[in-house]
């Protein structure tokens, strides 16, 4: 249930383009034709789905305050549990993203030349797409509790971005046949249409949270505490599951 909620939330309510304006540069530059927009959108989904969980692991086991506690347990490093490396997160995240993009490019080129031909030119563009780094930074600041949810969040926000660029590309293809005031042509009208679309997307705001919050106002604190415990349990389960996988 959690997964479904986060999935739809990241597609519609917290849509990368319409709610937080991430990835606007490539959104405006590559949305002249539907076919190229689809290529870039697919590449964004793919890279977000890879980098968000990866950066989640980095955040959880290296960067967070107290994340290095495993060093203490395993190797007896003193004071590891008080270390807070979160100021390094920008550089770690961007390095992960840049290398992952490069790696993905090499792998795709090797195993699927046809996919490379359609996606390849977009991959270098993606390293500097704000949506990718933004995905990781929002994952960190919203404290997404588990690896599975991080994956859901990555895929969801990728699909949200894909949806946005597909929509604007379709509109821009049609708008070529209408008489826009000369000074608004091109960039200006694209901005205003995006603004109108963003207003439309705001109506999704009440979809998941609006109704529930009012009902559960009183027992909220308890529920929160319960949730946290649950999440911790889930975390532990996942870690165990991962470990067993590694052992196998």
């Amino acid at each position: 249930m959690e997964h479904i909620e986060l999935f739809f939330k990241s597609i519609f309510i917290d849509n990368m383009v319409f709610a937080t304006f991430l990835g606007m540069c490539s959104y405006l530059a590559v949305s002249k034709k539907v076919s190229t927009a689809v290529g870039l959108g697919a590449a964004v989904i793919f890279v977000l789905a890879v980098t968000v969980p990866l950066n989640w692991l980095l955040d959880q086991y290296i960067l967070k305050e107290g994340a290095l506690v495993w060093l203490d347990a395993k190797y007896g490093v003193d004071g590891a549990e008080t270390l807070d490396l979160s100021f390094l997160s920008f550089i770690m995240f961007i390095a992960t993203i840049a290398t992952m993009v490069q790696l993905v490019e090499i792998i795709v080129e090797k195993f699927s030349p046809s996919l490379y031909n359609s996606l390849g030119i977009f991959l270098p563009l993606i390293a500097v797409n704000c949506a990718i780094l933004g995905g990781s930074l929002f994952m960190q600041s919203r404290e997404i509790p588990s690896l599975g949810l991080a994956l859901t969040y990555g895929v969801g926000s990728g699909i949200g971005w894909f949806l946005a660029i597909l929509a604007i590309a379709a509109i821009r293809e049609k708008i070529r046949y209408s008489s826009v005031p000369p000074a608004l042509r091109g960039l200006g009208i694209t901005f205003i249409i995006t603004g109108l679309m963003a207003i439309g997307f705001m109506s999704f705001g009440g979809m998941l949270t609006g109704g529930d919050e009012k009902k559960e106002e009183a027992p909220k604190v308890e529920a929160k505490a319960d949730k946290k415990d649950l999440l911790k349990k889930e975390d532990a389960k996942e870690i165990v599951a991962e470990n067993t996988k590694i052992n196998k």
Partner: protein, 215 residues
């Protein structure tokens, strides 16, 4: 200006209007829109970008002959990321409240297309002094739009500028509010940032018709 030759001065003045990074080059829009609901945040964001872009341009320009061109993107990203971390720490130390408002958008300066764009287009081919001026100029052009958008959104949205109630008090009904004026809360919502930028582009291009695109 005695200090700057005419050519150098153009590096600063061009990006302010006819070669503006946001309205003409279409770079750096990501962060420009999300934080402009308040004038103060816009100003701080503009100054941060200016610091990062000017220093980064100088660093890249000094290293331009020793960076292998194959890995230049990663080198550039690391340089920006290091500078942004410094800016982030400074903001957290001296303006904590504001750094909470800006949240992830300080970090997103790293992927601000203006910065990578200027590195690629200018700093890799020019000396440090000219790169520095280019950085200041482009960041100023970016900041100008940010401040204009922030000004209108804060003035029309909450009736304040930098937190001062310039239009009177909406609760005690003084100033303009006494005549039945109401704040337009819609201006504070994110879609309006896009529409305000769209209108700025419209005005700029109707004044300078050579900038008009063919669809």
């Amino acid at each position: 200006m005695g200090l700057l030759s005419k050519k150098d001065a153009a590096l600063i003045t061009d990006p302010l209007a006819d070669n503006n990074p946001i309205t003409i080059q279409v770079l750096g829009i990501c962060s420009a829109l999300a934080i402009t609901a308040e004038l103060k945040a816009s100003i701080v964001m503009a100054l941060s970008v200016m610091a990062v872009l000017a220093i980064g341009n100088v660093v890249i320009s000094l290293m331009r002959n020793i960076i292998p061109s194959k890995i230049r993107i990663i080198v550039q990203l690391i340089v920006v990321a290091a500078l942004v971390i410094i800016v982030d720490l400074v903001l957290k130390a001296f303006a904590y409240e504001l750094s909470k408002t800006l949240s992830v958008f300080v970090g997103l300066i790293i992927t601000n297309c203006i910065i990578m764009g200027r590195f690629e287009a200018f700093a890799l081919a020019n000396g440090p002094w000219r790169s520095f001026l280019d950085g200041i100029g482009n960041a100023a052009g970016y900041g100008l739009i940010l401040i204009i958008v922030g000004f209108f959104r804060e003035l029309l949205g909450s009736g304040t500028l930098l937190g001062f109630k310039v239009l009177g008090d909406p609760i005690e009904k003084t100033g303009l509010y006494a005549m039945g004026y109401e704040n337009n809360g819609f201006m504070l919502l994110s879609p309006m940032a896009l529409i305000v930028v769209g209108i700025i582009i419209w005005i700029q291009r109707s004044k300078n018709t050579s900038l008009i695109e063919e669809n």
